[in-house]
């Protein structure tokens, strides 16, 4: 168990910057998620933490000790790979015992003790019946467990997971998520989990860092990030369906966003008049209902382009025309009991409660965060 501090860590290959300088602290015992689209540098960061790759500059500290120049074996870090990387020529038992059996002889446990440990971890992960199988005889979920077991058996200081669930089917993924949380609760090992899936990030992390092009966009608890995204990237990336982002103009106390006149929220910042802003509306704050045929002031109508049932909510993608008659689409929630069909004409209204305002030039959130 360890606190991980990353200071100005940087990775360049030749003239190409893979990871611009990055500073980050992961607390002891925390489940920390790094989330971002592919190519954002999160896997590079993980390799640097594991010691598989050397940084160009910067330091990595575990509990205050500089480990930047240490070999992977000296760092006491475990890593679960996306591809599991099980040793195909070894049985499950040998795979799990491997980290214990390659320890220098002086510090190595005796054979019966290693077997005991294997049994303990296998019992923990429900693998006891599979110990004599080889990886190719296992299902995806079972391989995943073996990979976890191999990582857990030596009680590492730091547990790194590189998209460990992305090769599993959706159902299994959900149950493995729960399992990972259970493991973390029981073992309390500092965990850094890398994923491109924002749902995983939201459900798993104590805290998460959203990365884009190697830069940290926002760090915080999942709920805080969802409620107040720090910039346009985080706003568009976190949450599904993604936030609707509309170009808008401030006028007196109202905001002209697309076809809507919205009241300027009280915490809204001191934005100069006539300034252009970007308004973010979560799909759950946009309500889609049947068009009643009346062309009332403030009623906005559009054409349904896509419906996406998701349990109790039905996401509806609606094509609207803005004031300049340019078509754009917005995603909203269907009113309870309303099931629109594609090509239907519907009425779309925006709930006032939660507006997110961003500066379109810098992409940064405006006002109290």
């Amino acid at each position: 168990m360890a606190e991980v501090r990353i200071e100005q860590l940087e990775k360049r290959i030749g003239p190409k910057t893979i990871l611009p300088p990055l500073t980050l602290t992961v607390h002891d015992g925390e489940f920390f998620v790094l989330v971002g689209p592919s190519g954002c540098g999160k896997s590079t960061l993980l390799s640097l933490l594991a010691g598989l790759d050397q940084p160009t500059a910067g330091r990595i500290l575990f509990d205050g000790n500089d480990v930047t120049d240490l070999e992977p074996r000296e760092r006491d870090v475990a890593l679960v790979f996306q591809s599991y990387a099980l040793y195909p020529h070894m049985t499950v038992r040998e795979n799990m015992a491997f980290p214990l059996s390659v320890v220098p002889r002086a510090k190595r446990l005796e054979r019966p003790r290693i077997e005991e440990e294997v049994q303990r971890v296998a019992g923990f992960l429900g693998l006891s019946a599979l110990l004599d199988r080889r990886p190719r005889e296992l299902s995806g979920g079972q391989r995943q467990r073996v990979a976890l077991g191999r990582a857990l058996i030596r009680k590492p200081r730091l547990f790194l997971l590189d998209e460990p669930l992305s090769n599993l089917d959706a159902q299994l993924r959900a149950s493995m998520r729960a399992e990972l949380l259970r493991l973390h609760k029981e073992l309390k090992v500092t965990t850094i989990y890398v994923t491109h899936d924002q749902t995983e990030a939201m459900t798993l992390g104590d805290r998460l860092a959203a990365l884009n092009q190697g830069r940290v966009q926002q760090i915080g608890r999942p709920h805080d990030i969802y409620a107040a995204p720090a910039n346009l990237f985080v706003a568009g990336f976190m949450g599904y369906p993604p936030m609707n982002l509309l170009s808008a103009r401030l006028k007196n106390d109202s905001i002209q966003a697309g076809p809507w006149h919205l009241t300027k929220p009280p915490e809204a910042p001191t934005v100069s008049q006539e300034q252009t802003v970007t308004v973010g509306l979560r799909p759950e704050d946009v309500v889609v209902g049947p068009a009643n045929g009346l062309d009332d002031e403030g009623v906005v109508c559009g054409i349904v382009r896509l419906t996406e049932p998701s349990g109790p909510t039905l996401w509806v993608t609606v094509e609207l025309n803005d004031l300049n008659s340019e078509a754009f689409t917005i995603i909203g929630t269907a009113q309870a009991g309303f099931v629109p069909k594609i090509e239907d004409r519907v009425e779309v209204s925006a709930l006032q409660a939660t507006l997110h305002l961003f500066d379109p030039m810098t992409g940064l959130r405006l006002g109290a965060s």
Binding site: L52, A78, A85, P135
Partner: protein, 275 residues
């Protein structure tokens, strides 16, 4: 039958031609080795009417060929072991360790293997003489190992690179030194590749003629190809004995190739990644 011929006839004909082209000389040798001396230069009969084992008797029991075969086995085996051991370390470094100029190293290795043997044979001879290794099996084995090393390095590097990088990384994180990772993970998984490389080095060494001829001088050190080449006497060429000896020398490598073929096909890495 008609249908079969219509669809596969051309393929069958081509295969038959290629087969005859490749195996015809071997077949001719086999026939020659069984003919009595008087029938050797007579045609017809194509298929011998009388079959004799006298050539094999002479080659195997009354000549130095058995000794040469034993020499060949020693030379080829030691050359193979040396080339594969050294080549594995080298290829591992090139495939997985962070060293600069990998492609330059591979390029230089390729260039050295392009030198025609005749170009290095005089200095090599002088070198071996100075080392006191002239007319020893060590000299031949060592030369073969060195000469086949570029091939082994190239083959093994590509085989090691084909193994998922994550397996090596996982081994490193699980606590292996690079050497431990090579011995416990990479080599066992690269067994088909090792087999292919070993087979090629062995066959090269078994068949190699010029170095073996130059570096040896006596019956006790000659390898099989050299011994066969020295069969002809001053006034006559014993065609039957030559044919028998050639077959005896060819058989071991042909057998090896067949045996290793199965090993090569076995896909050991199945199930390691995804799947």
């Amino acid at each position: 039958m008609m249908m079969w011929f219509r669809t596969h006839g051309l393929t069958a004909c081509v295969l038959l031609l290629v087969g005859l082209f490749c195996l015809g000389p071997v077949l001719w040798q086999a026939v020659t080795s069984l003919k009595p001396d008087q029938d050797l230069v007579r045609l017809p009969p194509l298929i011998p009417e009388r079959v004799t084992g006298v050539h094999y008797d002479r080659v195997l029991l009354q000549s130095s060929l058995p000794r040469s075969l034993a020499n060949s086995v020693v030379v080829a085996a030691s050359a193979t072991v040396t080339a594969i051991v050294v080549g594995s370390f080298c290829a591992f470094a090139l495939a997985r360790l962070p060293i600069a100029g990998k492609s330059v190293i591979l390029g230089v290795a390729l260039v050295t293997s392009m030198f025609p043997p005749i170009a290095v044979i005089s200095p090599l001879y002088l070198l071996m003489r100075e080392l006191g290794l002239r007319d020893t099996l060590v000299a031949v084995g060592l030369t073969h190992a060195v000469y086949s090393l570029p091939l082994a390095v190239w083959l093994l590097t590509s085989f090691f690179q084909q193994l998922p990088k994550e397996l090596y990384q996982a081994a490193r994180i699980d606590g292996c030194t690079p050497l431990q990772a090579l011995l416990t993970i990479i080599l066992p998984l690269a067994r088909p590749g090792l087999a292919v490389a070993a087979l090629l080095v062995f066959i090269y060494s078994w068949n190699e003629f010029m170095f073996a001829l130059t570096l040896t001088a006596s019956d006790t050190t000659r390898t099989a190809p050299v011994a066969v080449a020295l069969f002809p006497g001053l006034y006559e060429i014993p065609w039957g004995d030559l044919a028998a000896a050639s077959l005896v020398v060819t058989l071991p490598v042909a057998g090896l190739a067949l045996a290793f073929q199965r090993h090569i096909i076995a896909g050991l890495t199945a199930g390691s990644v995804k799947g």
